[in-house]
């Protein structure tokens, strides 16, 4: 249960190795966070993320490996996680993929795999989580995405397309959540200054994971305004430049 001052007791994260997810978990972790369930399809990434999340002081970290593009087991995995205890916040944060070099063109199979893991699996798990949150009657679904414009800044093209699609489809989740007691927060960002993109030149348009985590943390905290679905476009200057990005 999220208490009145915004402390959460249970969390589920898809793609916990994503710097945005890690920073957000770090931000949300407090004395009342008893359990974090981490989902990924890559065992190495998953164990690395579990180690980090444990360091944040979460007493019970559960890791679940799922098979990509296999929806029924993924839905079952989410259902099992909610059966254990109430989950207050679900983070959907597909792990970013970057181009190895500018002249490398990914194969069709690689593109398909990226779309499958970053978009289809994310949506499958997000939908399953939303069903569970609605049955639970409370909770927040946070979906990290960004616009395709980011493609010009060094990320993998298929990944950017997947993120743009995910951002668009999130609005359907928000519509389903209306009036159910569940909030959907769509976080749309410019490329994040994460270690994967450390070689890129710094741009003032970039945000740090900690900025994203702060914005999400502020949304989780209770105020009179935090009662509806929201779209966070970061950085805020970007939102001012492109009003169309609000939804």
């Amino acid at each position: 249960m999220i208490d009145s001052v915004g402390n959460i007791s249970g969390l589920l994260a898809l793609g916990p190795n994503n710097p945005l997810a890690l920073a957000t978990i770090d931000r949300l972790a407090g004395p009342r966070l008893k359990q974090a369930v981490l989902l990924d399809f890559d065992a190495v990434r998953l164990s690395r993320a579990a180690e980090r999340v444990s360091q944040f002081g979460v007493p019970d970290v559960i890791t679940e490996l799922y098979h990509p593009d296999d929806a029924p087991p993924q839905v079952e995995l989410v259902s099992t996680a909610f059966d254990r205890r109430d989950i207050d916040v679900v983070l959907i944060a597909a792990t970013p993929t970057t181009k190895v070099s500018s002249d490398q063109v990914p194969t069709a199979a690689e593109v398909c795999e990226t779309i499958r893991t970053s978009l289809i699996d994310s949506m499958t798990i997000a939908e399953a989580a939303l069903d569970q949150l609605i049955a639970q009657g409370h909770g927040i679904l946070v979906v990290f995405s960004h616009s395709g414009l980011a493609n010009s800044l060094g990320l993998d093209r298929a990944y950017c397309a997947a993120m743009a699609g995910l951002g668009t489809l999130t609005s359907t989740l928000a519509q389903r959540a209306e009036g159910t007691g569940v909030r959907v927060i769509s976080v749309r960002i410019t490329p994040v200054a994460d270690p994967n993109a450390s070689g890129e030149a710094h741009s003032s348009a970039w945000v740090r994971p900690v900025d994203v985590a702060s914005a999400v943390g502020a949304e989780v905290r209770t105020t009179r305004r935090n009662i509806r679905n929201a779209t966070l476009t970061l950085p805020k200057s970007w939102r001012r430049m492109m009003p169309s990005q609000r939804n």
Binding site: M1, S4, N7, D86, H138, G179, G181, T222
Partner: protein, 471 residues
């Protein structure tokens, strides 16, 4: 966000008294995720209540608090709530025993409705507090501490019997004079997790008017306030409103209000012919949003300081309607539920630890957490259940606007200090306490758990508070 009902389709009452499809999806509660959905079923008879309990959903049932804003104990996200209607709510007062000064009251009736009915007969409830739109069942289950009065230090002392349907669907009658009264005391203040009260027999006191004569005296120090609260006579109610704008040595200063029921001949002639009418005019008066916004700011604090200085240091025999005196905080201020951006921090501390109240006001000021209102009430040593607080001391009710980032840490720190001082946070209004300090505050928690297992073996009752605190 105020309570919102998204649908309200009612079908006729069935043979078992259960109104089947009242799918009021009430958006209420205190979740940071905004609102929670609480599907509410209504029950009109004991059989209807039993029917719902025996068919409780997976996430459990909870007793609906009534029309007032709900706290965590009376909300059940994803589950169901039971609202008592029909014969379980009306008539508000089934009978009055003049000899024993006792009334049998429908558990689904609101406190305001009961007060109105009793006053018409020349009686009133001895202990009143909180939102007048709450039901009597919620009042018994919450057992909040109201203005101090020597004869009835708590609502538990005024209850002669409770009839409730437990988690097995069995109708029980519980009295404090039972050879084993543990069940009775576990239900009083049991935050609705042991059963659904269907009727309550309460001690009532005779009155000749619905008005109170209130003496207000300002004291420039916390010690002065405390001394004044401790020097009360038996027939008077006492409570203090602390000036939260005061700093330094004046921290904790405030106005002590003593009240007694006015006799008819003490009323102005124009009011004497309606002396026993329940004046509910104060019920609707919530602060407007702009005023609430100002109250949270430094300007609000300066205004509070100015208001305190401008008010008369002493007023005697000021007439106040019953509702205004007892339910003032609930009806005149903003809604006290977190989805309105406020929370209440209600705690009790023993007399020797009363400085925790002023320490809290100072600490809040230091870390930048504004306080919008604070009340202090004396508590006498009395019999209480495992989730009650039986010691003598003081009960503080502090209203805080949400938003300050340092608030969670501040409240956690004081939770621990209060627990160390053998005080407690009042569960009925708690929306954020950590489960690990609960056992320290309530040393008889294990006894309550065993009684809960006996009353509700299938865990049919559940609430957001119960899940958070693992009750």
């Amino acid at each position: 966000m105020p309570s919102t009902r998204t649908s309200s389709a009612r079908l006729p009452t069935t043979d078992h008294g259960r109104i089947r499809v009242v799918e009021d999806t009430v958006m209420a509660g205190s979740s940071a995720s905004g609102c929670r959905t609480v599907a509410t079923d209504s029950a009109a008879t004991v059989a209807g209540v039993r029917d719902q309990i025996l068919n409780a959903p997976k996430r459990g049932l909870v007793l609906s608090e009534g029309n007032g804003q709900g706290y965590g104990w009376s909300t059940n996200a994803g589950g169901r709530a039971i609202r008592l209607v029909g014969p379980l709510a009306a008539p508000a007062v089934e009978w009055i025993d003049w000899d024993r000064q006792t009334a049998r009251i429908s558990a689904g009736a609101t406190v305001a409705g009961v007060s109105e009915t009793l006053l018409a007969e020349g009686w009133c409830l001895p202990s009143l507090v909180g939102n007048p739109q709450r039901t009597i069942a919620a009042m018994v289950s919450g057992a909040l501490v109201g203005p101090h009065q020597l004869r009835h230090p708590s609502i538990g002392q005024a209850i002669r019997a409770i009839e409730l349907v437990d988690g097995s669907g069995e109708l029980r009658r519980l009295e404090p004079t039972d050879s084993d009264s543990r069940g009775f005391w576990a239900v009083v203040g049991g935050v609705g997790l042991l059963g659904v009260p269907t009727a309550v027999e309460l001690a009532i006191r005779p009155v000749s008017s619905s008005w109170l004569l209130v003496d207000s005296v300002q004291y420039d120090s916390f010690d002065g306030v405390v001394d004044a609260l401790c020097n009360e006579t038996a027939d008077r109610y006492g409570t203090a409103v602390l000036d939260v704008s005061a700093r330094g040595s004046r921290t904790g200063r405030g106005t002590v209000r003593h009240a007694r029921h006015a006799r008819v001949n003490e009323l102005p002639p124009t009011r004497q012919h309606v002396a026993l009418a329940y004046n509910a005019s104060a019920d609707g008066g919530r602060s407007s949003q702009p005023i609430q916004a100002i109250q949270r700011t430094r300007v609000g604090r300066l205004l509070a300081e100015a208001r305190y200085r401008a008010s008369a240091p002493r007023t005697d025999n000021e007439l106040a309607p019953l509702a205004e005196f007892f339910h003032r905080a609930a009806i005149a201020g903003p809604s006290n539920t977190p989805d309105w951006g406020w929370i209440k921090y209600d705690f009790c501390v023993p007399t020797d630890a009363r400085e925790l109240v002023t320490d809290f006001i100072r600490a809040a000021s230091t870390v930048g957490v504004p306080i919008s209102a604070a009340q202090l009430t004396r508590v006498d040593s009395h019999q209480a259940g495992p989730l009650g607080w039986p010691s003598s001391g003081f009960a503080a009710s502090i209203r805080l606007p949400l938003g300050a980032s340092s608030m969670p840490t501040l409240l956690d720190t004081f939770d621990e200090r209060i627990a160390e001082a053998r005080g407690c946070i009042q569960l009925a209004t708690d929306t954020r306490m950590r489960p690990d300090v609960l056992a320290q505050m309530y040393p008889r928690l294990a006894e309550w758990h065993s009684l809960r297992a006996e009353f509700d073996p299938h865990s049919s009752f559940n609430s957001d508070l119960a899940r958070r605190l693992a009750l």
